[in-house]
């Protein structure tokens, strides 16, 4: 399980127990019971939004609309259609989830502010439709919704409190379970670095849609429970005000945590019973608190309670590298690992890569060098599916990958590192590697953990397992990224400037690592500026200048090539 969730997992039972105790102690206080019931109902929607905001970094200003959809479905079915409550509840949740899928697809096209705006528009449109649609009561809404009946118990008053909080508890535990598994690792990776997640095999688009669907379903459930407890539904209930309230609960409580959403819902629920005579003051205070929390304590109330994440867990001595563990890789295909033909990539008028063609042999280490701006990284991006090429084809082990998303290419067996070492900063070293193994293979979490540990051990990084990536020194970041790239046994590895920023000792280690990886039969393509490193380990060197391949040969031949010397040093007079 992701370390960030440990505190969450511990806090949830405590919080729920606390709510339960309060419920028993204060069961005679009608005001308390009512406020706490709504807090529980809102907590369900808030948990969904918290995952959306905090786990996949997607904002939604339309959660109230899903709430409204769930609520109206139940309101209509239990009154006009005379359904009983429970099947109506299911229909409400499914309907809300369906709209979640739709909005999820729309959301793929937007980021940040624009996504906020698009979801806000969705919310407003829904409110408008609720107002106009005569079938569901138009501006008046639907009254006299019957209380839900569970066997002999009528769900109102104290039973409603238990109904709300048992549902909230189930949702909380379910959400935690979701976050603990494969999906949780994928979400966490997306939250940290979407591009790196995609390249390490996480289908980021699908994950976002799942998150929107889940959040939509939970908001729908929340609405479906709300109408049964309050007994009426009006078109302005699921307005922007509710959306903002849900957002406040999540931000106040702490984005991305289940407990935070519960705390936030309780906090705002209780403000609403104590603050009746100070309506406007209370809202102003909301505003101030929200700004203060976002600026000063981005982790919210839960973040404050939990304290800061453990900074640097263990700093044990580096373990010796386990060389013998490297079993040779079994080749699956007799096609060449990589064939690039005539690839051209333009940015506006600039031709970054100009009709480049080459092929790599299995088990070789080839370096791609050239001055800044020669198009090396652009070519790498084309090979790993980031951005479309203008013409040409790329075949990996005989499969044309033109137009493929990066995670599909990664799943073919292509590992990659980035110039600036894109780790998942708020995950530990081990989690970084596990996330990739889980995304790229079908193994379960335990096996993925074993595999990740083994990979780290191979590179002598095991002592850093529990360190958060953001606390790593730069040289270690690069090596952890390399570990993440090779953990699922790729047979083609693209390494972008691994030596930049490393000291002499780290460079030697890197050299050993790369040679050991090649020794297993992995084909390596390396972008590097450190010529000593390039010349000493490459089987072959290719030189790119102004997007064109100007030389291709052995290290010795390249070093004495006058064209290469000119590209690098200028022409001697």
């Amino acid at each position: 399980m992701i370390a960030r969730l440990h505190a969450d997992a511990r806090a949830i039972p405590i919080l729920l127990a606390l709510v339960g105790v309060c419920g028993i102690v204060a069961s005679s206080n009608a005001t308390f019971v009512q406020a706490a019931t709504y807090a529980g109902i809102y907590a369900i929607a808030a948990i969904g939004l918290s995952l959306l905001l905090g786990s996949v970094n997607q904002i939604s200003l339309g959660q109230a609309a899903f709430f409204g959809i769930g609520a109206y479905a139940v309101a209509y079915l239990t009154t006009s259609a005379n359904w009983s409550y429970w099947p109506a509840l299911v229909v409400g949740v499914v309907l809300a989830a369906f709209f979640g899928v739709v909005i999820g697809f729309i959301a793929l096209r937007f980021h940040g502010h624009y996504l906020a705006m698009a979801t806000l528009a969705f919310n407003l449109i829904c409110v408008g439709i609720f107002h106009q649609w005569k079938l569901i009561g138009g501006a008046v809404g639907i009254n006299n919704i019957p209380f839900a009946q569970l066997g002999p118990i009528r769900i109102a008053g104290t039973p409603a409190f238990w109904f709300a909080w048992i549902a909230a508890a189930i949702v909380a535990l379910l959400s935690l379970r979701l976050l603990r598994g494969r999906m949780g690792y994928a979400f966490e990776a997306i939250r940290n670095d979407e591009l790196a997640a995609e390249v390490t095999g996480v289908p980021t688009r699908r994950c976002k849609i799942v998150a929107f669907t889940y959040a939509g379903a939970l908001a729908g459930l929340s609405g479906a429970m709300y109408v049964a407890v309050i007994g009426l539904m009006a078109p302005d209930i699921p307005g922007v005000g509710l959306t903002v309230d849900l957002l406040l609960m999540v931000v106040l409580g702490g984005m991305g945590s289940v407990s935070g959403a519960i705390i936030g819902a309780c906090f705002i629920g209780f403000l609403s019973i104590t603050g009746h005579s100070f309506d406007n003051w209370r809202e102003v205070a909301y505003g101030v608190v929200v700004i203060a929390v976002v600026v000063a304590a981005p982790g919210g109330l839960f973040g404050l309670i939990r304290g800061r994440a453990r900074t640097r867990a263990t700093d044990g001595a580096p373990a010796p590298r386990i060389e013998s563990a490297m079993a040779p890789l079994v080749l699956h295909s007799n096609e060449l690992p990589l064939v690039v033909s005539g690839v051209t990539k333009r940015f506006g008028g600039l031709i970054a890569v100009d009709a480049v063609s080459f092929a790599l042999e299995y088990g070789t280490l080839t370096s791609l060098i050239g001055p800044n701006g020669a198009g090396k990284t652009t070519l790498f991006n084309a090979m790993s599916g980031i951005g479309r090429v203008n013409s040409g084809t790329i075949r990996i082990a005989g499969t044309s990958v033109t137009g493929w998303a990066p995670h599909r290419i990664a799943r073919l067996g292509v590992g990659r590192t980035f110039q600036n070492a894109r780790l998942f900063d708020e995950m530990t070293v081990l989690e970084n590697v596990v996330a990739s193994v889980l995304a790229l293979t079908r193994v379960n979490e335990r096996a993925a953990n074993d595999r990740a540990r083994e990979t780290l051990a191979r590179l002598g990084l095991e002592h850093l397992s529990t360190t958060y990536a953001m606390h790593l020194p730069f040289g270690e970041r690069r090596r952890v990224e390399l570990a993440r790239a090779i953990a699922a046994d790729p047979w083609l590895l693209l390494v972008d400037e691994p030596a930049a920023g490393l000291n002499a000792r780290e460079r030697t280690t890197l050299q050993q690592d790369l040679l050991a990886i090649r020794g297993r039969g992995v084909t390596i393509l390396l972008i590097e500026h450190d010529m000593k490193l390039v010349m000493s380990i490459s089987d072959r060197v290719m030189v790119l200048q102004f997007g064109k391949m100007i030389a291709d040969g052995t290290a010795g031949a390249i070093r004495n090539d006058p064209l290469v010397a000119a590209a690098y040093l200028g022409i001697a007079s």
Binding site: G373, Y568, L569, G570, I571
Partner: protein
């Protein structure tokens, strides 16, 4: 001494790029900083103009002012101008506006005279004075960037790879302009990948390798030094 950088250690976040670099520029000198990609050349200039890198040790003194205690804007007012990587033009504004804004940090009394002297020096951009900077060719953009810096009446001009992405004839032209500027009394600190070209024009040069000074000396001596080739192409450096 106009610019005196001593034992500078700097980097970004946890990445250390410069491990103790010392560089100085005297009045009217053209000094080149050479070295392969990733050696720390641009970081050196950015540290001088306080544009990003965290300085962890050493000192930067310009014309008697401690630049580590000032802002980028204040450095400009002292006369330390940086034509940065990517040229950093105001792409949506006209050539004329770009140049006029170059004088932002100075008093504006002589702005018209300075403008006409820049246009005289760069007839290519004078012809396009009402064009939007975005529409200029690479060479014209580089000239505009240098021209904008000249509007601030610099004592020192720091140029970051002015030859990047330009055709050889344009590069030759830019370098001859840089030579002219220097003869007219502006000191120049030039970061360049194209080592031999830079050495042809420079008085002195430093060669950086992995964030430290590997070689330094007068340009004529260095251009004959085989060790430069080794640093760039990865041969033995004679250690």
């Amino acid at each position: 001494m106009l610019l005196d950088v001593r034992d500078l250690r700097a980097g970004y976040g946890q990445l250390d790029v410069l491990h103790g670099v010392s560089v100085y520029v005297d009045l009217g000198e053209l000094v080149a900083v050479l070295g392969p990609n990733g050696a720390g050349k641009s970081t050196l200039l950015r540290a001088v103009s306080q544009l990003g890198p965290a300085v962890r040790g050493g000192s930067i003194v310009f014309d008697g002012h401690d630049l580590l205690r000032t802002s980028t804007e204040q450095g400009v007012r002292y006369g330390c101008l940086h034509v940065a990587e990517g040229r950093q033009l105001f792409s949506e504004l006209t050539v004329d506006d770009n140049l006029r804004l170059g004088a932002y940090a100075t008093d504006h009394k002589t702005i018209e005279r300075d403008l006409s002297s820049v246009y005289e020096r760069f007839p290519e951009i004078a012809r396009r004075r009402s064009a939007v900077a975005f529409s200029l060719s690479g060479g014209e953009q580089q000239m505009l960037a240098i021209g904008r810096a000249l509007m601030a009446k610099p004592k020192l001009l720091m140029l970051d790879e002015p030859s990047t992405g330009l055709a050889p004839q344009v590069v030759a032209k830019i370098f001859s302009i840089i030579g002219d500027l220097c003869r007219a009394g502006t000191a120049v600190l030039l970061v360049e990948q194209n080592a031999y070209l830079a050495l042809q024009h420079a008085d002195r040069a430093y060669v950086l390798e992995n964030g430290a000074t590997a070689l330094s000396g007068c340009a004529a001596e260095l251009s004959a030094d085989e060790r430069i080739k080794a640093i760039y192409l990865g041969g033995a450096t004679g250690e």
